[in-house]
Amino acid sequence: MPDVIRAEKLVYSYSGNDRRSLNGFSLSVRQGEFLALLGHNGSGKSTLARHLNALLEVQQGELTVAFLNAKDPGNVWKIRERTGMVFQNPDNQFVSSVVGEDLAFGPRNFGVPEEEIPGRIRRALAAVDMSGYETHSTHLLSGGQKQRIAIAGVLASEPDILIFDEVTSMLDPEGRRDVLDTVARLHEEGKTVILISHYIEEAVGADRVALIHDGQLLAAGTPREMLTDLDLLRRTGLTPPVPVRLYYDLRSRGLQLPFCPLTCEELEDLLCRLN
């Protein structure tokens, strides 16, 4: 698969701030890939996300998104049409308090013919498991439902790449699970997914995990490679999943499991094989 996103040595500082939010960040994403980008608050992950949707201009370095050069101002609208971005706060993403109207906002902006829009809205709502909500008011939805409508609002423009910028951090466990299920399903349906988070559990199901720290890529690899590396996680400012902690703490007591488990299921199997 070709690289649908290619970032090379991106550098970015916000005006009035000497600190470099991105400091030579490089990363490629393959088409159809599910990439989890992990980092602590202030590591530069949101700044990167805003580059991927051409919301921020490239100051230094190279960036192609959806095979388009992001440095070419003529590509800004094409890039925004090909990439969809969902933000953290479910309350601050709606232009209309009527679900159906809000969903039509993106397609209208991108010049989709009016007669095509109802079909797009229907498909987008079905994709987030909220069919029939066209006439509902956004004010009366739960946090998780709001985020799913926000995702549908992005899907209505039929982008290839989806960027989720900490979309679960303001949700309760139920809403979080629903949103993550939706994300996984969209990936299965062929979308390229970039999930930005500081919850390490959300990265377990990804194809690849990238760790960002101080505006640089620390490492990228399979979830197993990344999430079982204690030293790497510590440098990223993340805490390892419980099974990984148990593996290392047991080892320091002289009890060695055959390999480091990533999930509770794996840990259970490993331990029971010993018994």
């Binding site: 139920e174 500081h198 902690r245 047991l250 331990l271």
Partner: protein, 282 residues
């Protein structure tokens, strides 16, 4: 002396088509020095509970006592309530407004009868608890800090009055792992220093590790109330209720189902590690 709720009911917007009961005859006592975790699904009445204890809303029915006094009686001294009960609301960082950190943290002390030196010492103490260097931050604008730092500043503003009773509503939401762990350690320290803590959270892992007692609300009523080790041992019941019991309890339950003898009450990481290591070496 504790906080006591006696058959407290609360109805939203009574007399309108939107009227909805938020709490139904809830009785609950929180003793001095406890660390209580409160859980429940969105809309179970948790936020209402906070507002009632803090005296920001009055119950439709029933009484609330603070140190034996009914807080909704006319002669009850509200200033005393503000001084004894500190409340950290969800996303408290939005309440910062003063020009300097010093002034903002001292806001709650304004009406208290304390000397200038006492007030300054309280501000210094609160900021140091929250991990700030007093001299370095006192004259800075509280709005120029990062999101996580702002939250700590706002909490310092609540701690400055040295409440003996601290209520927190989802204080962990949006914190990254290091920020979360540091904050939980701080709460433990305050609790060990004698402060009563009531923390509302969805984070079952955090509550299992730090709280002594767990209260779970469901539809405005008590669903569970007991020592954390006991409440979180009902793994299936909590999963079914949508609250969850945390990863440690989950692993313990899995191993139990596979025939391991993991005793009930294994809800904290250290204990689970000891249990597994113990079984293994046998």
């Amino acid at each position: 002396m504790p906080v006591e709720l006696r058959k407290v009911s609360y109805t939203y917007a009574p007399g309108t088509p939107y009227a909805a009961p938020a709490l139904k005859e809830l009785s609950l006592t929180v003793g001095d020095g406890e660390f209580v975790g409160v859980m429940g699904r969105t809309g179970c009445g948790k936020s209402t509970l906070i507002q009632l204890i803090a005296g920001l809303a009055a119950p439709s029915d029933g009484q609330i006592f603070l140190d034996g006094e009914n807080i909704n009686e006319r002669q009850f001294d509200r200033n005393l309530l503000r001084q004894k009960v500190g409340v950290v609301f969800q996303f408290p960082e939005i309440q910062l407004f003063e020009t300097t950190v010093q002034k903002d943290v001292a806001f709650g002390l304004k009406y208290l009868d304390r000397s200038r030196e006492q007030k300054e010492a309280a501000v210094r103490q609160a900021l140091e608890w929250m991990g700030f260097d007093y001299e370095a931050v006192r004259n800075r604008s509280p709005l120029g800090f990062s999101g996580g730092e702002k939250r700590r500043l706002a909490i310092a503003g609540v701690l400055a009055v040295m409440p003996k009773f601290l209520i927190l509503d989802e204080p962990l939401a949006g914190l990254d792992p290091l920020g979360r762990d540091a904050f939980l350690e701080l709460l433990r320290k305050l609790n060990q220093g004698g402060m009563t803590i009531v923390m509302i959270s969805h984070d079952a892992d955090a509550l299992a590790e730090y709280a002594d007692r767990i209260v779970i609300l469901k539809d405005g009523m008590l669903f569970k109330d007991g020592p954390a080790a006991q409440v979180f041992s009902d793994y299936k019941g909590l999963e079914a209720n949508g609250t969850g019991a945390g990863q440690v309890s989950g692993i313990a339950e899995r191993l139990r189902l596979r025939g391991w003898e993991i005793p009930a009450g294994t809800i904290r990481y250290r204990r689970l590690l000891d249990e597994i290591a113990g079984r293994w070496t046998q």
